[in-house]
Symmetry: C2
């Protein structure tokens, strides 16, 4: 029996993967993995995902160079969510923030809680889509 058999993929063959900076616990991003991206993540120790909007297998950092070095892969009790500990090389967010969760609710509006580290233009040579 493979470790893959414990993972409960949804009707589209995907599970959400939470990516956390293993050094200080900052949650960086959430993206979706299919079986191939989980296997590739484990094999290469880099994070690979499935983009639902682009219908594309992708490696974090393939455009920006901001790869994530995988330190641990955990599975939740229901088998339907992954938690990946990484050492990130550069910001996780395509908008140039360290974490995609750079906005928090303050009173009744979302306010930025961390600085932008790099502009999307500098990261990709063009504004993000």
């Amino acid at each position: 029996m493979s470790y893959l058999d414990k993972v409960k993929w949804n009707e589209d063959g995907l599970v959400p993967a939470i990516v956390q900076d293993g050094r200080d616990g900052r949650v960086l991003m959430m993206a979706w993995m299919n079986q191939a991206s989980l296997e590739k993540t484990i094999e290469t120790r880099r994070t690979w995902f499935w983009s639902r909007s682009r219908r594309k297998f992708w490696m974090k950092g393939e455009s920006s160079g901001h790869v994530q070095v995988v330190k641990d892969v955990a599975l939740d009790c229901d088998g339907d969510t992954l938690l990946i500990q990484v050492e990130p090389v550069g910001p996780a967010c395509h908008e140039g923030f360290r974490s995609c969760f750079f906005r928090s609710l303050q009173d009744v509006a979302w306010a930025e809680t961390e600085p932008r580290l790099v502009s999307p233009e500098d990261m990709y040579g063009k504004p993000p889509k």
Copy 2:
């Protein structure tokens, strides 16, 4: 314009909500919120979710007493995932572990990485479903 308008609910009207212990950054669980559960979470400062399997609005801790006191609610860049910082009262996992992510991949199998704090029988008076 309401803060709710920035949230991109999926086709079922849900977003994944990652719950993190604000004291040390341990990721505790992931569950789904609809608009009513997000509003209730903010209003009561306790975590409320939508159970897809039971089709039911529920408060974390309503059976076990292990509520989560909400300290912060963050939204990611795409607006489709929430990150909630909490102070948990007791284990998050219905199996009695502090975190639902109590298993990590070691070699080619999932191995427990933290102790069970309480048995499900002690928590609910019966085994978990």
